[in-house]
């Protein structure tokens, strides 16, 4: 059965204007549709526009032209408050540099994603602990990021990304700062959790082994989607 497209991109462009007046086309007039539940991987060299595309999909940035629709929400003209709601409810981010809050414990980092919601304190704690347990960090919940290995920090970031049970998971070079074995572990966790929850994943990466987890692979170069397989 054909699944609905949860992501629909039409003629999308994102142009940055530099102080010198020069314009950089980070995303250049692309079209893309992603069915619900698909694990999509975008590969490409540094500066090809992958992260910009993820930021546009996550409502962190706004397109210069074109349209991005995610789970029925048109992100192109979204107001700040609606963009916040969208990020809180619909997407989970995992970054290359983990982006954990250094002064918060693993548990608090996950709970931070739930802090702006109306979920009760007890449920927040329960859900955060359960997520950390699911990424194998049950014994490390009260550790600060600095007390965790790189792989463990990325697992905390994954638990945080899943905290609000988002429909879409956006992975920005999630294995970029990890060795191959740890990176593979991380991808397995993301793959397993997203599949079991029916979540759509868009990952951008350089790592070759990501091919083993992906349903679909796209190459990006100079802001354009060059090859689709």
């Amino acid at each position: 059965m054909q699944k609905n497209n949860i992501i629909k991109i039409e003629n999308l462009s994102r142009i940055y204007r530099l102080r010198s007046g020069e314009q950089v086309k980070a995303v250049d007039n692309i079209d893309l549709e992603v069915p619900e539940g698909q694990f999509l991987t975008i590969v490409g060299s540094s500066g090809s526009g992958k992260t910009t595309l993820l930021n546009l999909l996550g409502g962190l940035d706004k397109p210069t032209a074109g349209k991005v629709t995610v789970d029925g929400t048109d992100l192109s003209g979204l107001k700040e408050a609606d963009a916040v709601k969208f990020r809180r409810e619909k997407v989970g981010f995992v970054f290359q540099a983990f982006n954990l809050i250094q002064t918060l414990t693993a548990l608090e980092n996950v709970e931070a994603a739930l802090a702006p919601t109306n979920i009760s304190q007890a449920e927040r704690l329960e859900r955060s602990m359960s997520l950390l347990e699911s990424v194998g960090l049950k014994q490390r919940i009260h550790h600060l990021p600095v007390e965790l290995s790189a792989g463990e920090q990325q697992r905390v970031a994954i638990a945080r990304a899943f905290a609000n049970q988002p429909k879409i998971l956006l992975l920005d070079e999630p294995t970029g700062n990890l060795d191959t074995a740890t990176g593979r572990d991380i991808m397995e966790i993301c793959h397993k959790n997203s599949k079991s929850n029916g979540q759509t994943v868009v990952a951008v990466t350089h790592a070759e082994f990501v091919r083993d987890f992906t349903d679909r692979l796209i190459y990006m170069r100079d802001g354009k989607l060059r090859q689709i397989s």
């Binding site: 962190l60 940035d61 408050a81 809180r88 981010f93 931070a112 702006p116 945080r160």
Partner: protein, 381 residues
């Protein structure tokens, strides 16, 4: 109650210890200054006003220059010359706006002994009041050659009830022993009826007094009434409790209004300094703010976070400042009074001022943080 913002705020403060401590010190200075100076000012006024209050007096009226050619140059103990004036003038003073009561007094000093002539029918404002009688009775209007004697003076001179005490040409039976803590300016030894006193001292003093003790309707108007009386009665001197204090001690004397002005000036400086400090803190945390925005924190969540941190600093500074302020007030007042009364309202105002200053200092940095674009913030190193 979401615990993450609070634990995050607390740890951020600990992470930036030096900046946090400097900010808190600023709030401590505001509150400690406010509490210490205002409490000291109030304690000072209360302490110095107490002796006069005990005899129902707010102001002492006298002439420090001759008013009438006749009469003796009477002398008040606190090195202030006071010259006789018509007793009827006391009625004029009493009818003055704001004056509740004006009581005539005649004081005369011979050597180290001070004789005071009083109107015993005045039992609320007077050089001695019925409640000052420790043994015996108070004076009555019809009394002639009887006197009240200061207890200390009586003990030094072996005077008891029924003894005779002399002053110049007068001889008086001691009918009461009194203890009046009226401060140096009104410290007296022998109290007699006013007409008796007028006859006892040299020259013709009939109908003359040299002091009027005044009570006012509203103590907040003391200074205003004092100025108006001085203006109305040329050559007169009106002494209030705080003037008395300035003459009797070298300790710190500062008005409450000045105390408030100093504290407000300090608060402004501290807020400006803390704003700068908090802006720097926000700049250092650009990336973290980006992370929070990426995981769904709204502008108001970010603003609240910065506010919480600033308020925490204000709360700590406020509490420590209150303690230090009370300590300083106690230190300043310990030399001049038996105790330090700390008005809880001042503590509340001081504490609230610190928290408000903290939040004010956090407002602009919070607004700057809220405005940050998440992608720009995430790119920050």
């Amino acid at each position: 109650m979401h615990m993450v913002p609070y634990s995050y705020a607390w740890r951020e403060m600990r992470r930036r210890k030096h900046r946090t401590i400097i900010n808190i010190i600023g709030y401590v200075i505001i509150v400690a200054t406010l509490v210490a100076i205002v409490t000291t000012a109030r304690g000072w006024e209360a302490t110095t006003a107490q002796p006069l209050k005990q005899i129902g007096t707010d102001l002492i009226f006298l002439y420090s220059a001759p008013v009438v050619p006749s009469g003796s140059g009477c002398y008040i103990v606190n090195h202030l010359f006071s010259f006789p004036f018509e007793q009827s003038k006391v009625h004029d003073i009493e009818s003055f706006e704001g004056v509740e009561r004006a009581v005539p007094i005649l004081m005369h000093r011979m050597g180290a002994i001070v004789l005071v002539g009083i109107d015993p029918s005045e039992t609320e404002t007077n050089a001695v009041l019925p409640e000052n009688v420790l043994d015996g009775r108070f004076l009555a209007s019809e009394d002639k050659n009887v006197a009240l004697v200061d207890l200390e003076y009586a003990q030094l001179n072996n005077l008891t009830l029924g003894s005779t005490v002399g002053y110049m040409k007068g001889r008086f039976e001691v009918v009461g022993l009194v203890d009046v803590d009226a401060g140096n300016i009104l410290k007296s030894h022998i109290y007699v009826n006013l007409p008796v006193g007028q006859r006892t001292i040299p020259d013709n003093n009939t109908g003359l007094v040299n002091v009027a003790l005044l009570s006012v309707n509203d103590p907040r108007e003391i200074e205003e009434i004092s100025n108006a009386l001085t203006e109305q009665f040329t050559g007169s001197t009106v002494i209030a409790a705080k003037d008395l204090a300035a003459k009797t001690s070298n300790a710190l004397a500062i008005g409450e209004e000045t105390a408030w002005n100093i504290s407000i000036a300090l608060a402004v400086v501290t807020v400006l300094f803390t704003v700068r400090s908090q802006i720097a803190a926000v700049s250092e945390r650009k990336r973290e703010i980006g992370i929070f925005k990426a995981i769904g924190w709204s502008r108001s969540n970010v603003v609240s976070q910065i506010f919480i941190e600033s308020a925490f600093q204000g709360i700590i500074g406020g509490l420590v400042g209150c303690v230090i302020g009370v300590g300083f007030a106690w230190f300043f007042l310990s030399g001049i009074s038996g105790g330090t009364f700390v008005d809880p309202v001042i503590l509340v105002i001081g504490f609230a001022a610190a928290v408000a200053s903290g939040m004010l200092a956090g407002a602009y940095p919070a607004w700057k943080a809220a405005k940050l674009s998440p992608t720009e913030a995430l790119r920050a190193i």
